[in-house]
């Protein structure tokens, strides 16, 4: 809705271009797209409107897949004037494939002079092109070392220039840097660099970069199982509130994972839920969607809840969640032996998802569910029977386990030791302060949503002046009307024999 409104005045051209591009996306060559993006970035810098840059970056994922050496080279040559030094540096980074060299030379000499101005575009465009080249280098394994050099040079460029209009692009560059180090298997070595950059970013109030870097660091810690450090980082930093949705989604996901390991399931659950809500559409980013759901399901189980059945029918999730579905089934039936078998069967899958230790913790939940089911269906059951039904090792164990379940509030009841049985109390009534608490939580959420969306609304610049003028007009008209009425009334009054007119 606000998006439509803002395309009124100066953005009209861009909107038109987009409209033209949308219906026939196949015809637009990547070169043209890069060029139009460069124009958009220029406009973003000159009008101080980060919106245009963000629009450019939104197309990054799709554009990335269509890059090749020639495309990049053509784009660079066309954007920069002929004798620009930046151009030669950029071209130097693009790998040379022998077959294309000749054709490229012709392109470079013939095209550029035609329509471009003689000066270099803004540095943001250079960084954007560097970002594209970096992503392109990462597609082939042989170029990793070159990619790393490029990454380092780009980063030092960004930090030297220190331009706020560059922040959104810089945040994406950091992501590419992380990928570079991760693919070359040196993620741990990049950490000092990230930490230093994070400090700088927070000093410069560079929110985009800061958000991106915090996520980079969390990922790097979690990759190496350094949950303690990750937790400390979270508690010592403030995640910038203006960060983009996708950064928020990642951030919540990482916090969810950290808290799940630290047994703080409630916090983990809220964070994972937030992450799912903020995540891009399942079809756009299926990997992330699946990864978050895996942890979400395990945490939900650990909290003693059973996830929704419909979740496992979701087309994107169905296949990848199959092991988890089986686990949910065993937890639901409360059968220990089945649980162990399923855990064993899917061990490799859990291992790759890095949820194995979390799933293994579910064992006690299986027992709890079992006891709970028994306590619901029996008013009085002997410990011996509990032992048989839940496949426990001894009656003694059963007594302790039931005792613990009662203490933890899983079931209501008591043990009669002399007789060796468990008596189950009546179910707690479900109406109480908890209900109002739940309502308070939900209402709070709705109100916050409303307030957030009010804040998120955008209006075209200076449009209020026109409205003001309108308002002024309206007021004039009203005055006239009032006057007329007053006069009319006066007339009436006159007719009625005179008197003081009504005062306004």
């Amino acid at each position: 809705m606000p998006d439509v409104e803002m395309k009124t005045e100066d953005a009209k051209q861009a909107a038109k271009k987009e409209d033209k591009e949308k219906p026939t996306p196949i015809i637009v060559t990547p070169v043209v797209e890069i060029k139009s993006n460069a124009v958009l970035i220029e406009r973003a810098v000159s009008t101080l409107e980060p919106r245009f840059t963000l629009r450019v970056l939104r197309s990054l994922a799709a554009l990335r897949k269509r890059l090749d050496n020639k495309v990049l080279r053509d784009a660079v040559s066309e954007i920069y004037p002929k004798d620009s030094s930046t151009k030669s540096t950029l071209l130097g980074w693009i790998p040379v494939a022998s077959a294309e060299v000749s054709s490229m030379d012709i392109d470079a000499s013939s095209v550029p002079a035609s329509k471009l101005s003689s000066s270099d575009p803004v540095p943001e465009v250079e960084v954007y092109l560097r970002l594209l080249i970096l992503h392109h280098l990462l597609t082939s394994q042989n170029n990793y070392t070159r990619a790393k050099e490029l990454a380092q040079e780009t980063i030092s460029n960004i930090q030297r220039l220190n331009r706020r209009s560059m922040d959104p692009i810089a945040a994406k560059v950091w992501y590419a840097v992380e990928r570079t180090y991760e693919l070359s298997g040196e993620l741990a070595e990049a950490r000092p660099m990230f930490l230093a950059a994070q400090r700088t970013a927070s000093l410069r109030h560079d929110d985009e970069t800061q958000a991106s870097l915090i996520n980079r660091l969390l990922r790097s810690y979690i990759q190496y199982n350094l949950y303690d450090q990750a937790d400390k980082l979270v508690s010592k930093t403030n995640f910038p509130a203006s960060a983009s949705n996708s950064q928020y989604a990642r951030y919540h996901y990482y916090i969810g994972r950290i808290k799940a390991v630290k047994l703080d399931y409630t916090v983990a659950h809220t964070n994972l839920q937030q992450s799912i809500r903020r995540a891009p559409q399942p079809r756009v980013a299926p990997g992330f969607y699946q990864a978050v759901h895996k942890f979400f399901i395990v945490v939900e189980l650990l909290m003693g809840d059973i996830p929704d059945r419909s979740l496992f029918r979701h087309p994107v999730l169905e296949r990848s969640l199959e092991p988890y579905f089986n686990i949910v089934k065993t937890v639901r039936t409360g059968s220990l032996s089945q649980f162990q078998a399923t855990l064993h069967k899917h061990a490799a899958a859990f291992e790759t998802d890095r949820t194995y230790t979390l799933v293994a913790r579910l064992r006690q939940n299986v027992i709890k569910t079992g006891i709970r089911r028994l306590s619901l269906s029996y008013a009085r059951i002997s410990l011996r029977d509990i032992c048989v039904k839940l496949h426990l090792d001894s009656e003694e164990d059963a007594e302790y386990i039931v005792g613990k379940a009662i203490r933890d509030g899983v079931i209501e009841g008591r043990i009669v030791h002399d007789k060796g049985w468990m008596e189950c109390g009546a179910q707690k009534s479900t109406y109480g302060p908890e209900v109002s608490e739940m309502f308070a939580k939900r209402i709070g959420y709705c109100l916050e949503l409303h307030n957030e969306s009010v804040k998120a609304m955008r209006y075209p610049m200076n449009a209020h002046r026109k409205e003001l003028a309108d308002a002024e007009d309206a007021r004039e008209r009203e005055k006239e009307l009032v006057k007329e009425i007053a006069e009319g009334e006066l007339d009436d009054d006159d007719g009625l024999g005179g008197g003081p007119g009504p005062e306004f």
């Binding site: 350094l226 937790d231 003694e396 009669v416 030791h417």
Partner: protein, 261 residues
């Protein structure tokens, strides 16, 4: 490697293997000084490998020595010093025989202090694939203990005290039983009356007087004549309505709605 360090290293090893704890402690404090002087206590990768190994050896013996002298805070210190060797220098140094016993001891220490969250964080950060966790005897032991503690199979914990994979593990059993009794005192919630005799078995006490002491600590009522413990059971207390909270909530809603409409 400096001659002083190598001499101290052999001193420490010798006195430790002959289990002369007092002498060993004296040598250890000298060795630690030497380590600090030669900058090995927080080492960097650039040190010679044999120096690092000697330093690690001394610290490992120190960790075991602390357990044998029943000094848990000292074990804590040694363990945190060893972390550098185990985590950051693992690519440089040959693996140590004592690494997993010490890591396992640290896990049990966390259990006895009831720091379950730390226990799991430490477990996650072990450089082992998940299936190895259950095959490595030193790690498996604390992992099983935690499992049993959490599900409430206390008798299994009690029985496992004899199956400790290393001598030092047994030191923790007593304090672990203390932890268990704290957790195991579900009695208050789960029973109305409990015969003294059975309470002793349930709480792993050997004599009745121990039970009586424990019961006094927790303010249980003891009916000596009937030979049983009575747990005062709170009757269903009246549901307190959190008035102030409700009023505060309602006021917030009113204000927010005012803003919307």
């Amino acid at each position: 490697m400096s001659t002083l360090l190598s001499r101290l290293h052999s001193d420490v090893t010798r006195t430790f293997s002959s289990s002369n704890l007092q002498k060993c402690g004296e040598h250890l404090s000298k060795a630690k000084l030497a380590l600090i002087e030669s900058d090995l206590i927080f080492p960097s990768v650039h040190k010679k490998v044999e120096e690092l190994v000697a330093a690690r050896d001394i610290l490992e013996i120190g960790a075991f020595w602390s357990i044998r002298t029943k000094d848990v805070p000292s074990f804590d210190r040694y363990f945190s010093q060893l972390q550098t060797f185990y985590n950051d220098l693992s690519s440089v140094l040959p693996p140590s025989q004592r690494e997993y016993p010490i890591r396992g001891l640290n896990l049990i220490r966390l259990l006895t202090q009831n720091r379950i969250a730390d226990f799991h964080t430490t477990l996650e950060s072990l450089p082992l694939p998940a299936e190895k966790l259950v095959t490595n005897p030193y790690i498996q032991h604390p992992v099983n203990l935690e499992l049993w503690l959490m599900e409430g199979s206390y008798s299994k914990v009690w029985n496992a005290r004899e199956e400790a994979p290393a001598e030092e593990y047994k030191f923790f059993v007593d304090s672990l039983m203390g932890t268990i009794r704290q957790i195991a005192s579900c009695e208050e919630a789960a029973y109305h009356v409990l015969p003294l005799k059975d309470a002793a078995t349930l709480l792993f006490f050997r004599t009745q007087s121990e039970v009586l002491n424990f019961a006094q600590e927790r303010n249980w009522q003891i009916d000596i004549a009937a030979g049983q413990i009575v747990f005062p059971h709170k009757s269903e207390e009246d549901m307190e309505i959190p008035r102030e909270k409700l009023i505060a909530n309602d006021l917030v809603y009113a204000r927010e709605l005012e803003q919307i409409v």
